[in-house]
């Protein structure tokens, strides 16, 4: 009997000591793959090494669209992870009344919100309230082929700074080489049509949407004017009708002067193009402006221990040093201002001056708050651009049409 009691005591002591050593596991989903996925995995390992009481179990959740499906399924069956890096994060948090991450940020005296760009916070809001922390973010920049500028009699060191110059330079570069009446070299083009279209709207002073009451603003004067500028680019043969899917290939082949596209191409293109590559700010209309794209870090409600651990991990990956490391390796934009002052960053700018442009352009970044019909709005924009380019509708009619339809859906 005595022996049994001793055994029981030893056993209970053992379990107590074991449980005090046991780790909090954080289930974390991430929609980062390839290069970015590899670096993210490295950050997770670092965190797990440094924190003996937490284990972050990071799982790849698929491409952006598939991640959204996976989160939807998890929401429906109540099997959400504890946190994640996911696209359209606010739709899965704020829209469901989960502003957990904001509680943590507000209670944390070390967390310096000021250090993040304002537009980043706008990108992480639903109904005006923060419900995510920006993470892997990119913005569009103007890539240009210096050789082509030179051969067209333009100054390769002075890329266009305004809409008027963009139009003028693009017209100067378009050429029909083989004489079949169709241009073989074009002035400008882009692959992410809707993204760039939204940049134009914003640059012309249009705020696109009032996410407060979900009122479309792009059918106003500024919006229609931007759409008319788009039409002018087509009419004056600065840009081809359609053919946007080919933009990247045309640019790499040396048949395109300006490519307006995501900053994340820089790492891939620097010293890989057969021509002299330049990178500049997107030209300004009434003002400079670049839209934000990418995924955000979110938290889902769990017990306090897990939430605390999840927040600690998110705080770790958005710390200045880690943000700088992530940006330098992947080409995503640093989300914090202080990351630009890091030695590694200064070093990078010295060796690869092309990186500096998009990283500095962030002061002109903008975003509207997330709202439920965001995706629908983007497909409506796509329709409007097609209608304008193919002359199905006048710019004015096209913008009024999609604004009406968006309102109907809401």
């Amino acid at each position: 009997m005595k022996r049994i009691i001793v055994l029981l005591i030893v056993f209970s002591l053992l379990t107590i000591s074991l449980s005090s050593f046991s780790k909090t596991t954080v289930n974390f989903w991430y929609a980062l793959s390839g290069n970015s996925g590899e670096l993210f995995k490295k950050l997770v390992d670092e965190f797990n090494m440094e924190n003996s009481d937490v284990f972050v179990d990071a799982v790849y959740s698929g491409k952006y669209a598939d991640t959204a499906q996976k989160i939807t399924a998890a929401l429906a069956s109540d099997t959400l992870p504890d946190g994640g890096i996911i696209p359209a994060g606010p739709i899965f948090t704020g829209a469901r009344d989960n502003y957990l991450i904001l509680d943590y940020i507000e209670k944390d005296p070390d967390f310096n919100m000021e250090d993040f760009y304002n537009a980043m916070w706008d990108y992480s809001k639903y109904d005006g309230k923060i419900c995510a922390i920006p993470y892997n973010i990119s913005t569009p920049v103007l890539y240009y082929n210096k050789d082509l500028l030179k051969s067209s009699g333009l100054d390769p060191e002075n890329p266009p700074k305004t809409w008027a110059e963009l139009l003028e330079y693009s017209k100067a570069m378009g050429k029909d080489i083989n004489g079949d009446g169709i241009f073989d070299v074009w002035g400008m083009n882009m692959a992410d049509v809707v993204w760039i279209f939204k940049a134009f709207l914003y640059q012309n002073g249009c705020e696109i949407i009032d996410a407060h009451n979900c009122n479309p603003l792009f059918d106003g004067e500024d919006g229609i004017e931007a759409a008319k500028y788009w039409k002018r680019l087509i009419d004056e043969k600065a840009m081809p009708v359609g053919l946007h899917d080919l933009a990247e290939k045309m640019f790499l082949a040396g048949n395109l002067g300006f490519y307006l596209g995501t900053s994340s191409r820089i790492g891939k293109w620097v010293s890989n193009t057969q021509f002299d590559l330049g990178v500049a700010y997107l030209p300004k209309g009434k003002r400079y402006g670049v839209p934000i794209g990418g995924a955000v870090a979110v938290m889902f409600p769990k017990n306090k221990e897990v939430q605390d651990a999840t927040y600690r991990f998110i705080k770790f990956i958005v710390s200045t040093e880690k943000v700088a490391e992530f940006s330098i390796y992947t080409g995503y934009i640093p989300i914090r201002k202080s990351a630009l002052e890091m030695d590694e960053m200064v070093e990078l700018f010295k060796n690869n001056p092309l990186y500096e442009t998009p990283f500095r352009q962030l002061e002109y970044a903008f975003s509207y708050w997330h709202f439920d019909q965001m995706g629908n709005m983007d497909s409506l924009f796509w329709e409007a651009v097609e209608n304008i380019e193919r002359e199905v509708m006048s710019p004015e009619a096209a913008m009024k049409d999609i604004s009406k339809r968006l309102k109907e859906e809401m």
Partner: protein
Amino acid sequence: MKKRKNLYVYFFLLAGIAIVLFPFFWMILSAFKSNADVYSYPPKWFPEKWNFDNFAKVFEMVPFGLYYLNNIIVTVLVTAGQVFISILAAFALARLNFPFKKFIFSFFLTTMLMPFVITMIPTFLIISKLKWIDTYQGLVVPFLFSGFSIFFLTNFFKTFPNDLQDAAKIDGCGYFKILFSIILPNVRPAVSTISMFTFLGQWRSYLWPLIVTNTTKMRTLPIGLRYLVSEGGGEYQIMMAASLMAIIPVLIVYIFCEKQFIKSVAMTGLK
């Protein structure tokens, strides 16, 4: 005259082969290219330097062996299970008489009209209630029933002559003996066709395994393949190296089933 006609036929056949083989050829070449070669313009046929690093990189980035094994386990279980269940169902629907037979058959047919994206979330809810998330059951069980397989086999079983079945019955065969000893050996082409379809479909299945698994140890190949390329595109040479390794079992299965497959297509044509 006839010879010349043959020549034309062969010309078109060869052109067809070239079109079909081109993507394979491109995949194989790309698997040995460097990133710069993949993106070079005008496109380069052959890599500047044949490099095998891409294959090593695949194993570095994802637990490729584990994913491979999981894919084999899931695909084999689904194929074997689905074919077995479909054979039994098809036999009952084609050769037996029982109440509501027509209704059940058309009910099975309607499942073919329902795209997977619609049934996905409800299926997921059931699987999660059963606590099958992140298990092999979760990956396999939802695919054991297939309206298409049953429909396909039922039609084949119907062509089997009644007299043979009756003769077997007179000789004292039970239903199972009739099915496995008399009918099955005669419809082997149909069975191997359906096995091949199931195998192919399951081998490349991506969305369901992605949604129903949450840990690396349960993941399958197609998820691993997606992970190799970043969101904006990028390292396609690595993905091609992985794809090259991933299609080997498919080729083996095809070679095994090919003869039977052609026979079944030819027979379907005759009906």
